[in-house]
């Protein structure tokens, strides 16, 4: 007697494996050329950002308080004239925390001065990092401010200056870079009217920086 032999029934797990096999094969067939073409494992985490930025550095105001003393140094010469000697410090952009390398080039400090005092001002600039001072030069003289008949400030002397900063100032070793501004004036006669309104006289300074930055991220 012939015996009919049935093939073993294909179980669901078998079908599932078969379908998954077809599915994965299809995906691989579609994706393989792309995957082979671009091996994303080769992609480095290094990124160099080289923007040309303009950034504000800050502003300072020098004034003589009610007691007649300066926050910096003021000198009274032999003829009882006031001589302004004042130094201020501005913070420059330091290396971002996540950066591995940081340099600046073609850096220019842009300085805006407004001088109420009736005397020309001379400004000397220094670059300070890690306790070392590098002289950068001087601005043009800031014009004297005009005063009223009552010896009150009327029209300030204005100066907009651009001071190039040497490329060598910013490198890997640069820490807490600062811009030091040293003001000095010609003599200002200290008459009674002037002394009465002395607290109204100020020297405003605003500073900005324009530079090509190069900041590298990633190990």
């Amino acid at each position: 007697m012939n015996q009919v032999v049935h093939p073993p029934a294909r179980s669901f797990p078998f079908l599932r494996k078969k379908l998954l096999h077809v599915y994965i094969s299809l995906l691989l067939a579609l994706c393989a050329p792309a995957c082979v073409r671009e091996d994303f494992g080769q992609l480095s985490d290094k990124l160099t950002w080289s923007p040309y930025l303009t950034l504000p550095i800050g502003s300072t105001t020098m004034s003589i308080n009610q007691t007649g003393t300066l926050p910096g140094t003021s000198l009274i010469d032999a003829n009882q004239n006031l001589l302004l000697q004042y130094t201020d410090t501005l913070l420059l952009p330091d290396k971002p925390e996540s950066a591995v390398a940081y340099t600046l080039s073609q850096a220019v400090a842009r300085l805006y001065f407004s001088n109420d005092f009736p005397a020309e001002l001379q400004v000397l600039l220094f670059f300070e990092t890690a306790g070392q001072m590098v002289p950068l030069g001087a601005t043009n003289l800031i014009a004297a401010g005009a005063i009223s008949n009552e010896s009150r400030p009327m029209q300030p002397g204005i100066l907009l200056a651009e001071i190039p900063l040497p490329d060598a100032l910013w490198d890997q070793s640069t820490q807490n870079p600062r811009l030091i501004l040293h003001f000095s004036s010609g003599s200002i006669p200290l008459n009674e009217e002037f002394i009465r309104h002395l607290s109204e006289f100020k020297i405003h300074t605003k500073a900005g920086l324009r530079a090509k930055f190069q900041i590298e991220f990633g190990e």
């Binding site: 923007p51 303009t54 950034l55 504000p56 502003s59 330091d94 925390e97 324009r210």
Partner: protein, 487 residues
């Protein structure tokens, strides 16, 4: 996340905006009426099979990436077998308004069944989308620096972002209200799992002269719901955002807390013996997010004159000072608030014509509506039925500003098993990183009792592109057989 991260968020808010790109378009599938899953792009379409069961999680899988801005491989350069990030080539090509979007869906369950006069479908689909729109000038300013544009305001509007993950339960009904017409209606019940999007963004950035003070005005609102943790300080200011790692995947995926409703509509009209017209209107609806829903708002004007003000230093580090100053002035705050998130409606309209016994051609237009923007696309296709169990298609489309999209697709039915795959841009599958558009849709289904030789009429009087009814072709109440018999 510290304040630096928060700065990233704030900048992100600036750079982002809402222009949802949620459509999951597939011109190729729209033309393939014989594919059971084509019902997902036109609910009027009914398969010629008594019933259809999509392979769980493989019934319909859709992936779409589109980038109007650049090809991905322009982001890096190769040297000594290493790829280095170098986005200059990409940024130099940026236009005023650009968008990047990602879309995907997986039909976890798909089922369709015929009754004598109707075709019903049931599907459970997981959908996820993300998009980013931005202005090319804003990216250029960020990457190349603000020095060249100092003194000129840069508007922030038009830059938005969003991401949405939701689950969709769709119940479709397709029927013939009149001879030569088939109408489909598909209400969809939605559950939002997570969402984040910029609902409002106005403002501008400017570097002022003469000494480069940075000024920003911002009025932005971001709505968020999902596994996020927001931390505030005593003043109610947002200080930290992070993903909540305590939320397990099952509890996230099994959430049904943010309900929504949507509707799909469609029609198919047999214009004449050779011509079929079809159209659909999809994704008309909203999701109401209430679970862990938050409103993040930043509103204010900020000026940064530098870290030193009147001789007083507020920090020893320049970049931290910049970030702190902007955050304090723009005052990002957060409060619980539920919100409605709209889907992005889209519409198809097309026609196919049977040219020979085995070849049909068609054209279709597609519209997708983003808030404030209507994005059109067009496609043409030729379809070949060399045998009753296989269909091949090539298509050409103009979409996303690109005129070079050549796609392809196929449909195979082998016994009780069927599968399809279609793409609107075939070369992209082989050159992923050099393509702006990558789109693939495929699916597997069981279609038992569906024999093309019995139910599907392959002749010039029965365009392959029309939906096939269960009714035999020679049934007295079959409009086609009636039409033929009249002749």
């Amino acid at each position: 996340m510290n304040r630096k991260h928060l700065t990233g968020l704030v900048i992100g808010i600036w750079m982002h905006g809402l222009s949802s790109l949620f459509g999951q378009q597939s011109h190729g599938l729209f033309f393939m009426h014989q594919v059971p899953q084509a019902n997902m792009v036109n609910p009027a379409l009914a398969t010629d099979c008594p019933w259809v069961l999509g392979i769980p999680a493989l019934g319909s899988v859709h992936g779409h990436y589109h980038n109007t801005a650049f090809r991905t491989n322009r982001l890096w350069s190769e040297s000594n077998d290493t790829l280095y990030w170098s986005p200059d080539r990409a940024i130099q090509k940026l236009q005023n308004r650009e968008a990047i979007d990602l879309q995907s869906h997986v039909a976890l369950l798909y089922f369709g069944i015929h009754t004598p006069k109707s075709y019903f479908t049931f599907s459970l689909t997981e959908r996820a989308t993300a998009y980013q729109t931005f202005r090319g000038k804003a990216i250029e300013t960020f990457w190349y620096g603000n020095a060249p544009t100092a003194g000129k305001p840069a508007p922030l509007s038009g830059t938005r972002s969003g991401a949405l993950h939701y689950r969709e339960l769709a119940l479709g009904w397709s029927f013939e209200p009149a001879p030569q017409w088939r109408i489909g209606i598909k209400p969809k019940f939605l559950w939002g799992l997570s969402a984040i999007y910029t609902s409002k963004l106005k403002g501008e950035l400017q570097t002022t002269l003469p000494v480069y003070a940075l000024q920003a005005s911002l009025d932005a609102v971001v709505m968020a719901s999902g596994p996020f943790v927001f931390t505030q300080n005593n003043l109610g200011e947002l200080t930290q955002i992070r993903i909540n790692s305590d939320v397990s995947a099952p509890s996230y995926l099994l959430s049904f807390k943010n309900p929504g409703l949507a509707l799909d509509l469609g029609f198919v009209h047999q214009y004449d013996d050779r011509t079929t017209i079809a159209g659909s209107l999809l994704d008309l609806g909203f999701i109401h997010f209430s679970k862990d829903a938050q409103r993040i708002q930043a509103n204010g004007n900020a000026t940064f004159d530098g870290p030193v003000q009147d001789g007083n230093w507020n920090t020893n580090e320049y970049w931290d000072s910049l970030a702190d100053s902007l955050i304090q002035q723009l005052n990002p705050t957060i409060r619980p608030q539920s919100f409605w998130m709209p889907l992005t409606p889209q519409a198809y309209l097309g026609a196919t014509r049977q040219m020979t016994r085995k070849i049909s051609v068609g054209v279709a237009g597609h519209l997708i509506y983003f808030p404030g923007k209507l994005k059109p696309s067009m496609a043409a296709m030729a379809q070949w039925n060399p045998a009753k169990w296989v269909t091949g298609q090539v298509n050409y489309s103009i979409q996303n500003g690109s005129w070079t999209n050549v796609g392809a697709g196929f449909f195979i039915r082998a016994g009780a098993f069927s599968m399809f795959a279609t793409t609107d841009h075939l070369p992209a599958l082989f050159h992923l990183t050099s393509s702006r558009t990558v789109q693939l849709r495929f699916g597997f289904a069981l279609t038992p009792g569906c024999s093309p030789s019995k139910n599907q009429i392959q002749s010039h009087t029965h365009p392959g592109a029309i939906p096939c009814e269960v009714l035999p072709a020679n049934a007295p109440d079959n409009p086609r057989s009636t039409r033929r018999s009249r002749r």
